[in-house]
Amino acid sequence: MEAVPPGERKQAKTDSTEKTWNLRLYVAGQTPKSIAAFSNLKKICEEHLAGKYRIEVVDLLKNPQLAKGDQIVAIPTLVRKLPEPLKKIIGDLANTERVLVGLDIRSISG
């Protein structure tokens, strides 16, 4: 269930009053789309949520039963667990604009 690869998990350290962004990326093995999605996500987070995000990568090949919980159908799927409400973005996250809209980041980073 925990992050793959390790070391990508980043905790919010600077501002404790701001909410931590809890993101979960569902993948199925190391497919080109999964790798692209992860690097795209990381880039966006570093740019807009530096220091206050946490990415958890779930490989469904290893933990297939986890797919049910978040209603995962498409791969890759990014789920914004926190802040509420839950949001889902599917695809390789190549379109940064849409990811920002999907995650509702733009309004925060402003």
Partner: protein
């Protein structure tokens, strides 16, 4: 030829366990392949898929996965419960696994390339968790509503069906009918092996569910539309048109319940498994005959299924007790089962399916429909005939003796059924009323009875408090007389017979008298004759005496005249010559 045989070996089938469907598909759905089940909303797709899964798990040791895209697990459990299946129990026993896939378009943002590997993984996980052999996807088209990239979806669906084949699961994929296509999103493109279409039509305010196999690659199958029924025990499909005329026949004879009628039918009654029709106008005793036949069957220890389209069971029981037939006893013992419905309650085909289902459940030896003519209220005459043909074929196949009644209307020919089914009937009994001298009586005769010598006599049909009685009717002077007219005529006939007999006696006595008189006359004549003969003899003697006396007198006279001896000699010679 060789190839065809190999195909048969290759194409294994997975029985659905659904009544009738396995007959139509000749063994079930293609094993290890997906089948597309399409139909409009409310046509019973989910129910059929569900039953396929449940029967597989319970009867064929094939656990199954139900993946729903539309219903929550709670709704699903309720649906299963409506068919009498305990979904939770089956799940905990590891026979069924369910997965509810929900995609809310408003919650999902699409950015770039993706695939449906998540779905594959979920399905694969569910299959592995119970070792499933069957899968239902109901209905996967919901994906099109949840995801916008149709190109990806289509590619992924193609991959999914391929993947399921590789996994070797027998799958049902449901899809909603489109305007001109079988499914709204063209799923039939991906599922090439077997496509089943469910239909739900309303004709003249009567609805009928129908099922049709659109295609079944590599297998023959019934091609018609088959009506089906959904009730508390699931789906029943009636393979009604797949019957032929090759049923075995029985030589066994069964009593009609009326001993006189048995006598009329070669002394033995109907053939077992034959089809008997009683037709007649209103109030001629058709139901009484049916009840008599039913009671006779129950008395033999047979089960009898009685379809009543006009009266409620209790009314029939009450009415029949008035002619001494106790049906309640047989109902209580479980030999007799009534089924009363109004013909217009549902469509013809549904009636047929109901017949079929009840026959399967009750397994009767005798089947009665009273009357079939009411079916025409539920459909066109040609349809009624087709339904009855299929019903009779089915009953013959099962060797069930069938007793149908038919109400003919005054004004139309009696020897004609409104449903034109006479050719299907083996024994046709006709009841008619005979109006005469201000009375209405019932006449009865056998119009035909295949395969046996039968009486050609018209009988008077009497309903007594001991049941049905048949009496020879008076046909002496050419007229048919029944009721009191018959009794009067019989009395008259007896009287005239008596008179005739005494007349003969009188004539005989007269003759005798004449004979005696004649004898007496003969005797008298003889006496007279004798007397006359005697008189004649006397006269002859007298004459002779007189002659001789005369001769003597002449001689004496000659002597007295002394005429000379020569003259006397001459006279004497002459006389002597003559005399010599």
């Amino acid at each position: 030829m060789v190839k065809a045989r190999r195909d048969i070996d290759v194409l294994k089938k997975s029985p659905t366990g659904i009544k009738g469907l396995d007959e139509i598909t000749k063994g079930g759905l293609p094993k290890g392949r997906p089948t597309l089940l399409c139909g409009c909303a409310g046509s019973g797709k989910t129910l059929l898929a569900m039953e396929f899964l449940m029967r597989g798990a319970m009867d064929y040791e094939e656990p199954g996965v139900f993946m729903t895209f539309e219903e929550t697990p709670e709704d699903l459990a309720k649906n299963f419960a409506s068919l009498g299946f305990d979904l939770h129990g089956m799940t905990s026993r590891g026979l069924i696994a369910t997965d509810y896939v929900r995609i809310e378009r408003s919650e999902v943002e699409e950015t770039g390339e993706y695939d449906l590997e998540g779905l594959f993984i979920r399905l694969g996980d569910a299959i592995d968790s119970i070792g499933a052999k069957r899968v239902v996807l109901d209905t996967i088209e919901a994906l099109f509503a949840g995801l916008s990239n149709a190109t990806i979806l289509r590619a992924e669906l193609r991959r999914l069906f391929h993947w399921m084949k590789e996994r070797g699961v027998t799958a049902i994929v449901t899809g909603e009918s489109g305007d001109k296509t079988l499914t709204r999103y063209g799923l039939e493109e991906y599922v090439a092996d077997c496509v089943i279409l469910l239909d739900f039509r309303i004709e003249e305010q009567i609805s009928t569910r129908r099922l049709r196999i659109v295609k079944y690659r590599g297998s023959s199958h019934g091609a018609d539309e088959y009506p089906f029924l959904i009730d508390e025990s699931g789906i029943s499909i009636l393979p009604i048109t797949s019957l032929g005329l090759d049923y075995p026949v029985s030589m066994e004879r069964i009593s009609t319940g009326v001993s006189k009628l048995d006598v009329m039918l070669d002394g033995k009654g109907f053939y077992r498994g034959s089809t008997v029709l009683v037709s007649g106008t209103a109030g001629t005793g058709k139901t009484s005959m049916s009840a008599t036949f039913a009671a006779a069957a129950c008395l033999r220890g047979e089960r009898c299924l009685y379809f009543a389209f006009e009266e409620s069971p209790s009314q029939i029981i009450r009415n029949m007790s008035s002619i001494g037939i106790d049906l309640a006893r047989w109902v209580n013992k479980g030999f007799l089962k009534f089924h009363s419905t109004r013909p217009t309650l549902y469509g013809l085909e549904m009636h047929l399916v109901t017949f079929h289902k009840l026959i399967e459940d009750f397994n009767p030896q005798v089947f009665i429909v009273d009357p079939i003519s009411n079916l025409s209220a539920a459909g066109k005459a040609s349809e009624v005939k087709s339904i009855l043909t299929r019903l009779i074929d089915y009953l013959k196949m099962k060797k069930i003796s069938t007793f149908l009644t038919n109400l003919t209307h005054t004004g139309s020919s009696l020897e004609r059924t409104s449903e034109e089914i006479s050719s299907l009937i083996d024994t046709w009994l006709l009841l008619r009323d005979i109006e005469l001298n201000g009375e209405r009586n019932r006449g009865f005769y056998i119009l035909k009875s295949r395969g046996m010598a039968h009486s050609n006599q018209i009988q008077e049909f009497l309903l007594t408090n001991q049941g049905i009685d048949l009496i020879d009717i008076y046909t002496g002077t050419g007229d048919v007389l029944t009721g009191s007219a018959r009794i009067v005529q019989e009395a008259e006939e007896e009287a005239s017979e008596h008179a005739r007999r005494s007349e003969v006696d009188r004539r005989l006595r007269e003759q005798e008298r004449k004979m005696k008189a004649m004898d007496a006359k003969i005797a008298a004549l003889r006496i007279e004759f004798d007397m006359e003969s005697e008189e004649m003899n006397l006269m002859k003697e007298e004459e002779r005496k007189r002659q001789s006396v005369l001769a003597e007198d002449r001689l004496k006279m000659a002597d007295l005249r002394k005429g000379g001896p020569s003259a006397l000699r001459r006279i004497a010679r002459k006389r002597g010559g003559k005399g010599a």
